[in-house]
Amino acid sequence: MTEGLPDDLEAVIGLEIHVQLSTETKMFCGCRLSFGDPPNTHTCPVCLAHPGVLPVPNRRAIEYAIQIALALGCEIAPNSIFHRKNYFYPDNPKAYQISQYDVPLASAGELADVRIHRAHLEEDAAKMVHIGESGRIQGSSGSLVDFNRAGTPLVEIVTEPDIRSASEAREWGQLLRETVRQLGVSDVNMEEGSLRCDANVSIRPRGSSELGTKTELKNMNSFRFLEKGITAELERQAGLVASGERVVQETLHFDPGTGALHPLRSKEEAHDYRYLPEPDLVPLAPDSEMLEQARKTLPELPEAKATRYRDELGIPEAPAELLSVRAELAAFLEAMLVAEPDLEPRVAANWLTGEFAAELRRKGDPELGEVPVEAAALASLASMAQAKKISHGTAKDLLTRMVDDGIDPVAVVTEEDLGQLSDSSELEAIVEKVVEENPGPAEEVRAGNEKAIGALVGAVMKETGGRADGGEVNRILRQALGLG
């Protein structure tokens, strides 16, 4: 079942994502993009909509948008059209937003089994700051407009309603964010608003192919809140249906603090945008050179990387997915494999995303470059463990010292004679001694309580200083106790 819904109902969710492009300048003028600069310091007659000014498209923004479209497997329109979307509001100085309407730049894509309806280029509005404690327009004594943001290039991505649960929406959103991040075309920072997500949510009887009445959740500022908001909305819709009421089409704001949903405005009052082909711009017709360049510079993206790691390198599903969305970890892994060609990718990935990641958490999650562990050093450690030159326990101890003090694991193994005990006779002698010194547990094992062997294994390990191979210790112990 889907979280928030009874078994006989199904969630139908589509996402609309606005991505601010990290170009140097705005979409239609030469003003610098900035975040956090003093208000109205990056403006000009064009983005302030003085009389007589004209928009000039930012070539870099078009290139970035094409990269996003290609990364989402979209078809690129040979001639897409800019439209004026007319609405009168203080954040919109021309009283129209230049956007795309019936012929968008990109359409018919797919990312991780969610179809992309369209992706188009447009410009961002100015930022409104409402005076007053709430920061919201209701009850505010006045509003200020900061035009620094006006005209920031945006790509709007609209999915088909292919998502079936709140958690899937979060996961897919995260994948999309990582995909765009790895293209290097946006900061994708949801708190700063460089990535914004709306969700269209409806429910229907499971098995139905019709779409129910949808509501729109606006401007979630994290994917965690998106998931919570969708869950709350699904519960609300299911409750309405259960009590015989109907879902009304409306726009909702989710308050992550209280978990409450507030209606913003109903669609019945929605603007008539009076779309008009933008007469100040010619059709956007990327030439073959521009498309070829975009294709060539496309990096390996998370979805493809996860598949390759899983299918070609034999890395298990979970670390493969984690590595695919953490570009810096993936690069570290690839450097490990170059340093130690015999190291199995599966082993390398486990050390990297398991023990090493745990050590990083212990240190408060520093960046990879902030700990004195090179990819080659971690690879040597993993290699020694893989070849059973050192025991797993020794390897973990070494890793802690590597992270803390930057030691060279190979040198330390030699210096401190930490090599694994591979001499059976030496190990057998230790086992014999341990059995003698621990008659209680030994007797229990002999009496059939095999779990009691753990205490004896621990004692052997202690005796060898952790240098013995766990499997081998087990084998010799069982033999000595007649379980062989």
Binding site: P45, A49, G52, V53, L54, R84, F88, P93, R274
Partner: protein, 477 residues
């Protein structure tokens, strides 16, 4: 003017005299500044003395108040831009300054270029220098009247449906509208973006062409600009040998005044006398031009004019709430014709009506483009009277918008097709109600970017017609 060496010099000749050192640029500017300052037709909204020490390489230019001029008020004839001083120059203005042609002043116009009589200016009508009880035409009426009256050597205007050609005809001077895209629209306050085009006024084809050659050109700040490929050179033709000129007889049947029809017929005889050939052509959809124009232009205007909200510049009428401030600012800032067109255009674009109005109008536009393409496969140029009649009396048509709109019947199709056209004086004619004779204009149109061919033929015809009258008393009473 006659008897005054400087006023009698053509603008081209003035530039040459300054270039050769025969004439002092500063003296020339002072002479024209005085004439502009003494003008009593309400042709100028403001005049400019220029900066001391500026380079003066030619005759100063009167600039329609629709062009943004850094440091000089720019109102587009509207109250809503009262007090607005742009922080930048329009590209066309920039090109004038870069060439050393000083700005003489900003000329009066119909508010946001919406009008054919200049009576829609928030700053009062411009008077026709030939008869002060009549209109000079519009919307570039101030530019046309200033040049006709000898208060400017030449001028910039804009033409959306005839706003250069019609006032040029009614004031007895030359008005040249180039191909859409020839001159950058950057800094030219938008009325109907897909139709607006900068053009020029002069006493001769050569002057108008010379000024156009200064301002035309590709501009990276206007994505729709193209310039005129190959540029423009001074016209030299003296005959029309080998030139075929098409006349859309059917289109011209509707209500042309007798005096205008007579001058037009004489002009066609002159064409043949110069060795040209006259051929009848058809422009089957041209008569739908006005209807399509009055959907497309208001639709674009309705979105272009939404930015005037009293917040960032221009007029602000204070009020207790933001919405009330918007309403009062726009209510008091816009005149009745502008409001009429904003409402028309808003309606034409609204959901459910778009296809019926804007969509249909765009289809008509395409048909008109094809009409011209078909015609130009047979002829080099097309000739019509510029307007159906001579200058009409102030107030004569203000209560009947449709009869006012019909003034642009012969000029609108060329605007919809984006092709170049010129109006040259064809002589004088008595108005239907009697009285002193008034100027008549002959319009010639050419295929897109065929400006050079257009001005060559216009130059040859102009010389043969030999119109050299000037309004008595000019602009100074």
């Amino acid at each position: 003017m006659a008897g005054e060496p400087l006023g009698g010099l053509s603008a081209c000749a003035t530039g040459e005299a300054i270039g050769s050192g025969e004439l002092d640029g500063a003296e020339c500017l002072a002479f024209w500044a005085e004439r502009a300052g003494d003008e009593t037709l309400n042709a100028y909204l403001c005049t400019d003395q220029g900066d001391a020490g500026q380079r003066i390489a030619g005759a100063p230019v009167a600039v329609k108040d629709i062009f943004c001029t850094e440091g000089l008020p720019t109102t587009a004839g509207s109250r809503i831009l009262e007090g607005y001083v742009p922080p930048f120059d329009a590209t066309a203005v920039n090109r004038l300054r870069a060439t050393g042609l000083p700005i003489l002043g900003k000329t009066n116009m119909d508010e946001f270029a919406m009008g054919s009589s200049n009576e829609n200016s928030a700053y009062g009508p411009v008077l026709n220098p030939w008869d002060r009880t009549r209109v000079p035409g519009g919307s570039s009426g101030g530019s046309a009247a200033a040049v006709a009256a000898g208060a400017a050597p030449w001028a910039l205007g804009t033409d959306t449906g005839g706003s250069i050609r019609q006032p040029a005809a009614l004031c007895g001077i030359v008005g040249l509208k180039p191909t859409y895209g020839a001159v950058s629209r950057f800094g030219m306050i938008a009325f109907a973006s897909s139709l607006d085009q900068c053009g020029t006024f002069g006493h001769s084809v050569a002057d108008a062409a010379e000024l156009l050659s200064v301002v035309e050109g590709l501009d990276p700040r206007d994505s729709t600009s193209t310039g005129i490929p190959g540029g423009l050179s001074r016209p030299t033709a003296s005959d029309l040998e080998g030139i075929t000129i098409g006349v859309p007889r059917d289109f011209l049947e509707v209500g042309v005044e007798q005096g205008v029809a007579d001058r037009f017929a004489e002009a066609l005889e002159t064409v043949e006398r110069l060795g040209g050939t006259i051929r009848n052509i058809e422009l089957p959809h041209a008569e739908l031009g006005i209807s399509a124009y009055y959907v497309i232009a208001p639709a674009e205007a309705s979105t272009n004019l939404s930015r005037y909200d009293g917040v960032r510049y221009g007029l602000r009428v204070p009020a207790d709430s933001l919405v009330e401030m918007y309403e009062r600012t726009r209510g008091e800032g816009f005149g009745p014709e502008v409001k009429r067109r904003i409402m028309l255009g808003t309606y034409a674009l609204s959901s459910g009506y778009y296809d019926q109005y804007y969509g249909t109008a765009q289809k008509v536009r395409t048909l008109i483009v094809r009409d011209f393409e078909a015609a130009f496969s047979e002829v080099d140029l097309i000739a019509t009277p510029t307007t159906p009649g001579v200058a009409f009396g102030l107030g004569a048509k203000t209560s009947d918008p449709w009869s006012m709109y019909l003034n642009d019947l012969f000029t609108v199709p060329m605007s919809l097709a984006g092709i170049p056209a010129i109006s040259i004086p064809a002589g004088l004619a008595e108005p239907p109600e009697g009285g002193p004779e008034l100027p008549v204009g002959l319009q010639l149109a050419a295929p897109a970017f065929a400006e050079q061919a257009l001005i060559e033929s216009a130059h040859a015809l102009e010389a043969a017609i030999g119109f050299d009258q000037r309004p008595e008393g000019g602009g100074n009473s």
